[in-house]
């Protein structure tokens, strides 16, 4: 009788163990599949570090990284978008380590670096050169117009483990014929090395003419990509560790609306990343609401043990 009892117990134990092993193995397969589908993409991808990777860093390494990861924001404004200019100044730009507004002409209402230049591409060149010359200790550059809303903390998360002395040119990567370029409206990220090479190639009138190359004027975003390409810097798509794009040229509402049509049973998951960096196409009032939604609105009791701390900016009351 005892022998049979022990057989049964042994059986149960084995069955239970078998189940555990199977479950652990079974859950490995989803991550396997996503790796293979990536290889068919033609863009380069820059992914945010995973939580596991970050946990492996020491405290000293973390401190070094948080020093390295400071951002200089280059915000291209004009008096004709004065309300957006004022909104950017009052909202997301406060989270840049340094936010500098570059304008085409001066405005009595707001201060900015006056480039006195009407041509968009020429003005952009001037702004980037100025930023490079005034970077100080900062090693990352974020280029945007005030119609874009950026979450700088999430930008820092994306570039956290990337070395700025390597050339990086990141954002929402698009393709136009043979040219990969980063979309302007969803924000452009440049590492120090990339900007350095760019400023250098600005002096080459053949590779990177000041007044644009083609008979028809190419957009600034494409001009930028061409010039960078000559220096060996290529556009890369910024994504989270699941492969979701972090840079958006549409508003949250617009993307949610798309998701409601495409994935009605999984609207929020199918929409946007939790760590999104940019959105665009919102009204100034909507951007103020976004400020509240990003930096304040949350459920009580949900705590995240993030590997870094970013403090709220001084003298700000809407975050």
């Amino acid at each position: 009788m005892l022998a049979e009892g022990s057989s049964f117990m042994k059986g149960m134990l084995l069955g239970g163990l078998f189940c555990l092993v199977l479950s652990l193995l079974g859950s490995f397969s989803p991550s396997f599949e996503s790796n293979t589908t990536e290889d068919h993409h033609h863009h380069h991808h820059v992914k945010a570090a995973s939580k596991d990777e970050l946990k492996r860093l020491t405290d000293t390494q973390m401190d070094e990284l948080s020093q390295q990861v400071r951002v200089y924001c280059v915000i291209m404004v004009q008096p004709k978008v004065l309300v957006y200019w004022a909104t950017a100044k009052d909202t997301w730009s406060k989270h840049c380590d340094q936010a500098v507004f570059y304008t085409s002409e001066s405005s009595k209402a707001l201060d900015a670096v006056n480039l006195s230049e009407k041509d968009d591409w020429t003005r952009l060149r001037k702004a980037l050169k100025h930023a490079y010359d005034n970077a100080g200790e900062l090693r990352w550059f974020f280029l945007a117009r005030p119609t874009t809303f950026a979450i700088i903390e999430n930008l820092k998360y994306l570039i956290l483990t990337k070395d700025p002395s390597e050339p990086f040119y990141i954002g929402h990567a698009m393709k136009s014929g043979e040219l990969d370029y980063v979309e302007y409206e969803s924000g452009i990220v440049l590492s120090y090395e990339a900007l350095k090479r760019l400023v250098h190639v600005f002096q080459d009138e053949d590779k990177c003419p000041e007044r644009g190359r083609a008979l028809w004027k190419l957009s600034e975003e494409k001009q930028l990509a061409i010039c960078l390409k000559f220096t060996g810097v290529f556009a890369e798509n910024g994504e989270d560790s699941q492969g979701k794009g972090l840079f958006n040229s549409k508003s949250v509402e617009s993307l949610i609306s798309d998701s409601l049509s495409n994935n009605p049973t999984n609207v929020v998951e199918g929409c946007c990343s939790d760590m999104a960096v940019t959105f665009s196409g919102m009204s100034p009032n909507q951007m103020q609401v976004m400020m509240f939604g990003v930096y304040r609105l949350r459920p009580y009791g949900h705590d995240f043990h993030d590997s870094l701390i970013f403090h709220p900016p001084e003298g700000s009351d809407n975050d």
């Binding site: 049979e4 084995l14 979450i151 946007c272 990003v294 009791g301 949900h302 809407n318």
Partner: protein, 331 residues
């Protein structure tokens, strides 16, 4: 001896099957219970199967530590109708309603949505009848299932965790009711219907008793005001739902009405009824808001995304009420 050998082999096989199935069903039920929590607390990008399996251990521990859930059960009832089930109520069901301890969708007609049929006609003029019948139904069938009873419209967005937080300092055995307090018509004020309001268990009992005894009647079509009058009659106290900085949590309009900076100006029309002096701009509203109103399909998901998904990595929030926050310091 051969018989014995075969028997023990059979027992072994039975053991393997039983062990496998029982552990499988155990893990399955654990996963279902904690999936809700995991979805909330684990950032999107680490939501792989392997991590999900391991993190249930941590989440289960956290659930035990935060025992708020048990003594602050909230029953949510949504005032809706057949016309709006697909265009509005469905999206509430997909988003915030999941976080209530119990949800009931109150309509004129019973359906498989599922809705409770209140046997009241549809239409604006019947809102108070619907409300009365709804509370009577809850009193009759569900009173023991919760401590607090939230009424919301099918265009209200609610953050249930924040409601729980507001309610945590009040005793549901007392006759209390909370929401966005309005000043006119009722001496002690009344709570806006659209922003949603909550009654304690005792308040629900008194409301129902009031109609039984005739102390409360259907004297008006205006549901929130009339209910507020009944609350006053039955000596149910309105409680303050604002946060520690005096900022509002319940809102009868969408966020852009309140949060957008304004130059100093006389009270706009939508703030005329306020019981407490309102503030416009960033200080209007608590970080831990409980509700917004006039929120339709796309905005329900948008607010869900802002509240539960999109966040600034590593950001140290300015507002950190001391009570019961598990971990404000870096790990």
């Amino acid at each position: 001896r051969e018989m014995k050998h075969i028997t023990s082999q059979l027992l072994f096989i039975t053991g393997v099957l039983l062990g496998f199935l029982s552990l499988h069903s155990l893990m399955f039920s654990w996963r279902n219970v904690t999936d809700r929590e995991v979805n909330r607390q684990v950032p999107q990008h680490i939501h792989t199967g392997r991590v999900r399996f391991l993190s249930w251990i941590f989440v289960a521990h956290r659930e035990a530590a935060a025992n708020l859930s048990q003594s602050t059960r909230i029953l949510c009832w949504i005032l809706t109708g057949p016309k709006y089930l697909q265009s509005r109520t469905k999206h509430i069901k997909e988003t915030w309603a999941r976080r209530c301890d119990k949800v009931l969708y109150m309509s004129s007609v019973k359906t498989d949505f599922p809705t409770v049929g209140l046997d009241v006609d549809e239409g604006r003029e019947n809102l108070y009848w619907k409300t009365i019948r709804a509370f009577q139904y809850i009193h009759q069938n569900h009173l023991d299932e919760a401590e607090w009873f939230l009424k919301a419209d099918d265009d209200t967005f609610v953050v249930v965790e924040n409601l729980r937080h507001v309610l945590s300092k009040y005793d549901p055995e007392k006759p209390l009711y909370l929401g966005r307090r309005f000043r006119p018509f009722v001496q002690q004020g009344y709570m806006s219907g659209g922003a949603g309001y909550v009654l304690s268990k005792e308040a629900v009992k008194r409301f129902v008793r009031g109609f039984k005894s005739g102390e409360c009647t259907h004297f008006s079509d205006i549901e929130d005001m009339a209910l507020g009058k009944c609350m006053e009659t039955m000596k149910v106290d309105p409680a303050d739902s604002r946060d520690l900085k005096g900022r509002q949590t319940f809102h009868p309009f969408p966020p852009d009405y309140y949060v957008v900076r304004q130059p100093p100006r006389p009270r706009p029309w939508f703030l005329i009824y306020e019981y407490y002096t309102p503030t416009e701009g960033p200080e209007c509203c608590s970080d831990f808001i409980v509700s917004f109103h006039y929120i339709y399909a796309v905005q329900q998901y948008t607010l869900e995304y802002f509240t539960y998904h999109l966040r600034p990595y590593g950001y140290k929030y300015r507002y950190n009420p001391d009570s019961q926050t598990k971990n404000n310091a870096p790990s």
